[in-house]
Subunit: 572 residues, 2 copies
């Protein structure tokens, strides 16, 4: 209570200054002069000087300020909001990603630290909260709902509803993240329902993840509390969910791209229930294409109304997540602006965050968040696993997991007893690396294309154990041991030599290295994989990382052996 009153006194001074600036009794901290801006309330372009004080917009009209920028000929938009992104998918630390995002006009994002939580548990959530504190992009959180992702997963932690409960009180936590395990929800399993009712008790939002769920199952899933979906790749699926009250996050990421299919949503009847997200986006995509600005540009090119598109990119997500002062250009809203040249070109020219210029062709320096040493220590030591040897990957009879071109589905292709490069039958294995269980699951993989050496990665959804594929046992062991040695990464090996690698020393899934460096590094390593024969049509590492995901039919490689998703049994 005393804290409240102190806070009140502090806020009192800020608010009085805001009122004084609005009343023109003192000059503004910043004025965007002659601004043509998106008015999200009346869905039109409005015009005026935009005055800013204490990081908030305080007036629109005729103002003077200590800092002024002429907006003539430009369009001022609220800063963009990415409604669903796994920061880990960028492979870089949040401070690095922030640099890239701010230059594309994203000033707010909502992340689900699902990947790092599956490695580090609540420490992973804490790490990401601290790693995003005070960045020039406001990072809000949805708490990971599925750690482990399924009962089959050997992840680094298990989080029930009690484990994450305290995080709801964090001012940047908006709710519970995508509830992937919809089967548990609709069948009413305690563990799942407990998490949902807990989020509702905290009056928070719950994100969904339920591709093609419908009829009674969809009613049950929504009744259970799930408010949104970002897995719609079909307009009818999206409309069914929207009509039943779910918000639709239109996703345009590196792997999944749904904008074109969902374009009819960007119309007056439906747009208010929609927002944009990237879900997973690789570093080179962010650098070369962008984030929400890229989605807007593409939507407008496809024929969407620019005002509607820009509102979906800003205001709507703020309303969904109840970010009260975010997503609009009006008094008492945070002074976050993405300034573009025109709706036709949609090039971000300047970006302001909390009323400070952050980007005008180059990103302005900002302070790096300080992370508690014990969390940093934990993040850099997540490999509790002994070195492996060639005999861990010896030739024995196993099923063959058959890759399907252009899909992450797989097929059961019968059995093999050894590698057969002619037939593109490779050895694949997943090595449990969190809890020293010595669990190694092995099998064969067809369709990957590797002709020599081995490829390994510690990014393997959702538990991020080490997954390795190779033409021979020695290179496989070498690759796995290299990843253990570096505490995480992606490596291409040939003849027990490192051909190319990306070190991912943070939880085995991210790095502190600059995003430009890691992007280049990743492309080089991909090239190395292709050079060793990996099929050109697939992403050598992303495809591999999904081979351990035990929810997608037909066969998956787990730490306990090959799992038949359709039959829900391990097979040998």
């Amino acid at each position: 209570m005393v804290e409240n009153y102190k806070q009140n006194t502090n806020n009192l001074h800020i608010k009085k200054h805001m009122v004084d600036v609005a009343e023109n009794r003192v000059p503004a901290d910043l004025v965007l002069k002659n601004a043509t801006y998106l008015n999200v309330f009346s869905s039109e372009l409005s015009y005026g000087d935009i005055a800013v004080a204490n990081g908030f917009i305080v007036g629109i009209g005729k103002y003077t300020g200590n800092e002024e920028y002429d907006m003539t000929g430009k369009i001022v938009l609220p800063g963009f909001i990415d409604s669903h992104i796994h920061l880990e998918s960028s492979l870089v630390a949040p401070k690095e990603l922030a640099k890239a995002l701010i230059s594309h006009g994203t000033t707010t994002l909502v992340t689900d630290p699902h990947e790092i939580a599956n490695v580090m548990g609540t420490d992973g959530i804490k790490y990401m909260l601290e790693a995003t504190e005070g960045l020039p992009v406001d990072v809000h959180f949805m708490l990971p709902s599925c750690v482990p992702a399924t009962p089959l997963d050997e992840s680094g932690a298990e989080l029930d509803y009690k484990a994450i409960d305290d995080f709801y009180n964090h001012p940047r936590v908006c709710g519970l993240a995508e509830f992937m395990d919809f089967v548990s929800v609709v069948s009413g399993e305690n563990g799942a329902i407990e998490k949902l009712v807990s989020a509702e008790q905290h009056n928070k939002m719950i994100d969904g993840h339920a591709p093609m769920l419908k009829d009674k199952d969809l009613n049950a899933y929504i009744s259970a509390g799930v408010c949104s979906d970002h897995e719609c790749y079909d307009i009818n699926d999206a409309l069914t969910k929207l009509r039943l009250g779910q918000y639709i996050m239109i996703r345009e990421g590196t792997a999944a791209q749904n904008l074109e299919a969902l374009l009819p949503l960007l119309t007056p009847m439906y747009a208010d229930r929609c927002m944009f997200c990237v879900d997973d986006r690789h570093p080179n995509d962010i650098l070369n294409k962008g984030d929400i600005d890229y989605i807007c540009k593409k939507a407008i090119k496809l024929g969407a109304n620019p005002l509607i598109t820009a509102k979906v990119a800003t205001y709507n997500a703020a309303r969904y997540f109840n970010l009260k002062h975010c997503g609009a250009i009006a008094p008492n809203y945070i002074a976050d602006f993405a300034i573009i040249d025109s709706f036709d070109n949609f090039n971000v020219q300047m970006v302001f965050k909390n009323g400070k210029l952050c980007y005008d062709g180059e990103v302005k320096p900002f302070e790096t968040p300080i992370i508690e040493p014990n969390l940093v220590q934990h993040a850099h030591n997540t490999f509790n696993v002994s070195n492996v040897s060639a005999k861990d990957f010896k030739d024995i009879k196993h099923n063959i997991i058959g890759m399907v071109p252009g899909e992450i589905l797989t097929k059961n292709q019968g059995y093999a007893e050894k590698v057969d490069i002619e037939k593109d039958i490779l050895k694949i294995a997943v090595i449990e690396r969190h809890k020293h269980t010595n669990h190694i699951g092995s099998g064969y993989l067809q369709g990957y294309g590797l002709k020599t050496g081995a490829v390994a990665t510690s990014i393997s959804h959702d538990s991020h154990n080490i997954i390795v594929v190779g033409t021979n046992a020695r290179d496989m062991a070498f690759a796995v041991n290299r990843i253990i040695e570096k505490h995480g990464g992606i490596v291409v090996v040939n003849n027990e030599q490192i051909v190319s690698e990306v070190v991912l020393e943070i939880a085995g899934i991210m790095t502190d290295a600059p995003i430009e460096e890691i992007s280049e590094n990743l492309e080089q390593t991909k090239a190395a994989a292709f050079k060793q024969g990996v099929n050109k049509g697939i992403d050598p590492f992303m495809t591999l990382s999904f081979m351990a995901l035990p929810v997608i039919p037909e066969l998956r490689m787990t730490t306990k052996g090959i799992f038949d998703v359709l039959k829900q049994t391990y097979i040998e």
Copy 2:
């Protein structure tokens, strides 16, 4: 924390039942069969069986239930939401008002207990919270922001931001009520700004009240945190506020009726930022015309789109007040339904609250809320004032307050030394009744029309002291003493006899009597006032009740004498 987990366990059972019903594993508690219903998400009419469990909608499709109603030929709407109402203006206890409102389809309302708080302070807020607990209308609260309304008022309490702070934690408190004292806000006075920042700290909404405020003042007022306005009687005023981010509550009450002027707001560009309210509504208006249903009917008659109108009447207010499970027909929303015959007629035929039938031509019985005895005791004993005598109203020289037909404005009409019935110059007085100050302010009133006797009322905005007007001192004293004797009311007196009266024993402004009785009683008493000469063009009591409001020009009658609002001084 332990409480949380217990609550979780309890909610777990409810949620599992909801999921089971949605999945058709068990029958629903209630099904509205073959329902054509308003889909607020896609702004269209949708169709299906609506299944209800535990008071929540859980599925739309094909369902069977323990209780079923065929909706063929009807239109099912979410229950209506009145976004701003002073319950006290109905003159009856909330349980009585609830009966009337539920029969008109209102299932949720947001009230500002401004009147009772000005009499009883925080006890008044507590009284209203308890008096509305568990009613078949969900009653949410905005905390009174202006107690007293102005520094000139001698009210029953003074509430600063600390006094109301704890109430923000009440689950039915949505924010801070209409901040009438906009002058203090835009001039940055501590007392006002403290209240606003406190509401923002609690992440709550702040309602506004600022007729015709514009330009820098409006920027300042909105920057200070005020989110809405219900005082727009002009479309340009409304559009200015809407474009600057305020929500517009379209008001259609007993005194102020703004719907017709604001009809252009009920269009796709603006409607999402609008809701409906009645502000103040007298019992006979509620009984004879209705509440939000009446506004909808009128809007549609005036040409508004029915789907937009119905959405403004339901969904929009729920979003503004962040009532997460309210205002829509979809899974996980509260099963509140107003069922009408057609958009053309807009007659409410059936009403369900929390999935229970409350009205089908008659209101179903419900439990009366239990109010703590000490609060009841306080509410019935708010008159701390000695009896008056004729000599308290003796003839001396005072200014004349001149009433203006059809307005609540007044004019300074010079001086008088005594009553002059020919010239329609009557004696007027306000008697402080909260704190035994013996303050009596006297003056003359022109334009009221009374020819004999006296009229007195303990409803006088905003402090609810006793206001009396009369042709002679003896009748004035008799009328005032009668009000003191009955602990509140409205009385018409002639020759020291009661001609007609309305007893308002709760805080001097409400009664426990049935609404039908009080409505009839009030009409009789009005008739008595007219019979004694009060001008037909005015409401004898409402008009009187505004004569003590020291914020409206030109002259006002206060407990300390006549106040010149334009000059901001007391005059003699």
